[in-house]
């Protein structure tokens, strides 16, 4: 297997999907000649032509609405929102329209759309670019929210998302784009949606995370192992709907849990995981569930990101708190 960056794995998935299925098309701001501002679609327009990979006018709402319309002609749109901070401009298309259409049409129409977007901080973008808004979309019924944490998953999950007849918000961690490399299987393969994965085995405590939180959790687990604490890291991969079964299995195994998210404490996914655990698996718990999240401020200005964002030390400290509960 070749070692590839997270963004190369994403590009490869789109390349394979375009090759496999003529109905797949890609559009968004600057995805054509420029290959997107991060080069995620680099070379795809040159290879597949402007009919299949094209720039749109600068309007996220237009991009989302157009994707919905194109599904009536049996296209499978992959639309790019340049930064997830611009989610609000396209929120009606995502939350008000595409997420509801299967239901509204009594199951007679589907929405095979992938909304790709970079999210998360740590790269000192100007304000309003980086943001962890996954909780907002994860709370909308009718849509999947997929957040890969490594290159192999990024490719397999994106191919599954493109093949899915349900709309998927596919969030790419912008800090990991080039900083994270890993082995990626060759050719076309899919990684199942709605299925968490054990990123690291352990038996004393479970650290449950997703997306950009996973490398932070893995680093913490590494530290903890030096102190003789064996931490299991569960990578949710799909944050909506949650893989409750896998969550239950790891809780049953370790009896101790820390939930880790990059988003602000009040913002969603971690809270949903904790409430599922308390409702279903509370008797497996030996200690209260710990949580590591960013502070409840508006997303910080670039220069302060380092202080604001969660770190593996925060995870280690929280794990020790849970471990020392008794």
């Amino acid at each position: 297997m070749a070692v590839k960056s997270y963004i190369d794995a994403i590009r490869e998935a789109m390349d394979l999907a375009l090759e496999k299925d003529d109905d797949v098309i890609i559009f968004g701001e600057d995805v054509g000649k420029n290959g997107g501002v991060f080069r995620a679609t680099d070379g795809l327009q040159a290879k597949y032509g402007e009919d299949r990979v094209f720039n749109t006018p600068l309007a996220e709402s237009g991009i989302g609405g157009m994707a919905i319309g194109l599904t009536t002609q049996n296209y499978r749109p992959i639309m790019e929102i340049q930064f997830f901070g611009f989610l609000f401009e396209v929120m009606d298309s995502i939350a008000g329209q595409m997420a509801r259409n299967r239901f509204r049409f009594n199951g007679t129409r589907s929405m095979p759309i992938v909304v790709r977007s970079p999210y998360g901080g740590g790269t000192k973008t100007p304000e309003m670019h980086a943001d962890n808004l996954e909780g907002m979309v994860a709370q909308i019924p009718g849509i999947r929210v997929v957040m890969p944490a490594n290159p192999a998953d990024a490719k397999g999950l994106l191919l599954s998302s493109i093949a899915s007849n349900d709309p998927v918000v596919f969030l790419e961690n912008l800090h990991l784009y080039r900083s994270l490399k890993g082995e990626v299987p060759e050719g076309y393969y899919t990684t199942p949606l709605d299925k968490a994965a054990i990123a690291r085995e352990g038996d004393y405590i479970s650290i449950i995370s997703y997306g950009g939180g996973v490398p932070v959790a893995l680093k913490a687990a590494e530290e903890l192992s030096k102190n003789g604490i064996s931490a299991e890291v569960l990578d949710l991969r799909t944050v909506s709907p949650l893989d409750i079964q896998s969550i239950g299995e790891t809780v049953a195994k370790t009896g101790r849990v820390v939930v880790v998210q990059e988003a602000q404490r009040m913002a969603g996914v971690g809270a949903a995981v904790m409430s599922e655990i308390s409702e279903r698996f509370i008797l497996s718990l030996k200690a209260p569930i710990g949580r590591v999240a960013a502070p409840d401020s508006v997303y910080p200005f670039g220069q302060a990101e380092n202080d604001w964002m969660i770190k593996s030390d925060d995870v280690v400290a929280k794990v020790m708190e849970v471990v020392n509960y008794d």
């Binding site: 701001e29 420029n34 006018p57 901070g85 100007p126 309003m128 401020s297 200005f301």
Partner: protein
């Protein structure tokens, strides 16, 4: 077969419709590419004194120097995000020269020079660019409020907000207007249409600028819309709408001055499209213009850039020379050096402050977080 009336024939003549649209917006122009006055009456109507002419040129030079220095510093990692302005000095500096301190500015991320002209110190501009919250405090060095909002990142948002400011100014019977800037790409956003439409419907005190600089990142103007003129979008909202040579400082100033006086007198907003060009990258964050445009195209536009014209005009009038320019460039660079030092010495931002500033009345969880960060000195 029955014939239809000439009027109905014209209505149904789609080709005619397209030509009519294309022909409806002649370009306002006072100087040619070499700085020669091509419309003397328009020049007179601008009523620019020699001091005004020198001031406009000086503002444009300051903007250019700030651009050169910022780009350099950004490359060294000392500046932060920066959107180059070279080529757009007339669109930015000659337009803003027509407004007063009481007028409200709604800038986009590329419109830093206009805010500086309102008295926002350059060191704050540097902090904004570096992602420091003190860059968003809009006061002058001696603590006077600056009537400007932050350089807007969400494209189009400033237009809808400008409609609100313009309506507020009208309702309060202020002798002031709001002036807002976006780019050619920005005219595709829903907010753009909503902003001009609301402002028009309420006859708000507003002047809207579209700096048509040819590109929205890599997307050329032609992909943005089939409309032959972006100004035509103003007609849809019932606004007087102008196309101006955006590299011609005198034409831009004249259009802006007349638009302001129309709007401040309660007649409603005006839309001005300035045809200009972005001579450099979209931003200093890794954009390579040669991926989507040619060297020749860029070079051609360098020949039409506004500083050449303004400098030549003033030299021809005998009120400017090379020595004056050299001296002023030195003065500006010294100023920028001093301002960088101030920016470098500003205290680090505190996470506890971020949480304190998120809500006036913090939640229990926020209070706990504030205490935790304060105990860590963060």
């Amino acid at each position: 077969m029955a014939d239809i009336t000439a009027t109905n024939k014209q209505i149904l003549d789609f080709n005619y419709q397209l030509t009519a649209q294309a022909d409806s917006f002649p370009t306002l122009s006072v100087l040619d590419n070499t700085g020669k006055i091509v419309d003397n009456e328009a020049f007179e109507r601008a009523e620019l004194s020699n001091d005004d002419l020198i001031n406009i040129l000086k503002r444009m030079i300051l903007s250019r120097q700030l651009d050169i220095r910022s780009t350099k510093l950004a490359k060294q990692g000392r500046f932060g995000f920066f959107a180059p302005t070279a080529g757009q000095e007339a669109s930015q500096m000659a337009s803003s020269y027509a407004f007063t301190d009481d007028d409200w500015l709604m800038p986009g991320y590329r419109d830093i020079p206009q805010i500086v002209m309102k008295g926002w110190p350059i060191w704050k501009a540097i902090l904004w660019s570096r992602g420091h919250v003190l860059g968003n405090v809009y006061t002058t060095e001696d603590d006077k409020p600056v009537n400007s909002w932050m350089p807007q990142i969400i494209i189009g948002a400033q237009y809808v907000e400008a409609a609100g400011i313009g309506l507020g100014l009208k309702k309060r019977k202020k002798n002031a207007v709001v002036y807002a800037y976006t780019g050619d790409g920005g005219t595709s956003q829903g907010d753009f249409y909503e902003g001009i439409n609301f402002a028009g419907a309420y006859h708000a005190n507003a002047v809207f600028f579209v700096q048509n600089n040819g590109y929205a990142i890599s997307t050329p103007r032609a992909v943005q819309t089939a409309a032959p003129h972006l100004a035509a979008k103003g007609w849809a909202a019932g606004l007087p709408s102008l196309v101006v040579d955006g590299n011609d400082p005198i034409a831009v100033y004249l259009a802006s001055k007349e638009a302001r006086s129309w709007a401040v007198n309660g007649n409603g907003p005006v839309l001005i499209e300035t045809i200009t060009n972005r001579l450099e990258a979209h931003s200093t964050a890794g954009d390579d213009p040669l991926r989507y445009r040619t060297k020749d195209d860029i070079e051609e536009w360098w020949e039409k850039e506004p500083l050449i014209r303004m400098r030549k005009l003033l030299q021809d009038q005998g009120i400017w020379n090379e020595k004056q320019e050299d001296d002023y460039v030195k003065e500006v660079n010294q100023l920028i050096d001093d301002q960088i030092k101030i920016a470098d010495n500003v205290d680090k931002q505190k996470i506890s402050n971020f949480i304190k500033n998120t809500l006036e009345v913090p939640s229990q969880a926020m209070k706990e977080q504030i205490a935790k960060f304060e105990s860590e000195g963060k």
